[in-house]
Symmetry: C2
DNA sequence: TATTGTTATACTCTATAACTATA
DNA sequence: TATAGTTATAGAGTATAACAATA
């Protein structure tokens, strides 16, 4: 059998992807608490989805592949800690427009920097060409449904 | 451009890895319940760590990067559902040796088949050479500490 | 009536702390 | 005293169902 069908050593792609992702999360969390108290990886993931002009909870939930209830809980938490604000829209008072605060912006920059450090490490380790290929390939897989 | 950030701003490696992993998990879960009731992705991950001769909870916890308490909970659950058995070692009655049942073996085979289907899909999509390169590269990153 | 968001509740995953049994 | 595992408890992440306010 080819290596594709032989997963008996548990060296399958799920493990490989999981391990890589674990390192990224670890890098984000390593100095997170001292800079942005209360933020966890799930919050960074949400914060970076918010565009400068703000977004509705329903739309954020859709992009995040979450229910709006689940997403709403995160938004409440982030707002309480000062990473986001929200206002009802005058033209449709059902809608809450969620925006990042300056601190929220800094938090996104922080997580992007952490991810960039990992990318740098991997790029150095593999050489820029091989790393670019990895990235390109993952992107292609993500783009196809 | 929608009201929410488009991919270009959040197209870092964390998102790419997360999306790929999400698909693997989805493939495992798609027909899991009908074949192996009660099993979730975390259980498949644990089951495949158990060698044929069995393993101690403490050792499994170390390999799984979990606490022995957390791991013990999963083992209790798996045993109640008939996917594992366990016996105290005669030579050290503190130790519980956990083994997979035949059904547990089948569950591991099922999850490996699901992962192999994803690998096959990706291999077809990228061509076998590019997919092999992706796999090889991820493996290399996982191997280096 | 349909949609936006909230409240209430529960399940899943995993952790920390304190404990029991055995060595 | 040290180690293997258990019990008790809690926090984090996310879900479903029922609801309220607004359109």
């Amino acid at each position: 059998m080819t290596s594709v069908n032989d997963a008996s050593q548990t060296d399958h792609v799920a493990r490989l992807l999981g391990e890589a992702l674990r390192r990224v999360r670890q890098e984000i969390l390593s100095t997170s608490e001292e800079h942005f108290p209360g933020l966890r990886v799930s919050h960074y993931r949400l914060l970076e989805l918010i565009p400068p002009e703000g977004a509705r909870i329903t739309d954020l939930a859709e992009v995040a592949l979450m229910t709006k209830q689940g997403l709403g809980q995160h938004v409440d938490y982030l707002q309480k800690l000062g990473y986001t604000t929200s206002d009802r829209l005058p033209e449709d008072r059902r809608v809450r427009l969620v925006r990042r605060t300056t601190t929220g912006d800094a938090a996104v920059a922080y997580s992007h920097a952490a991810i960039a450090r990992i990318e740098q490490t991997w790029s150095t380790r593999l050489g820029p060409t091989r790393y670019a290929t990895l990235r390109q390939t993952l992107q292609e897989l993500g783009a196809t449904p």
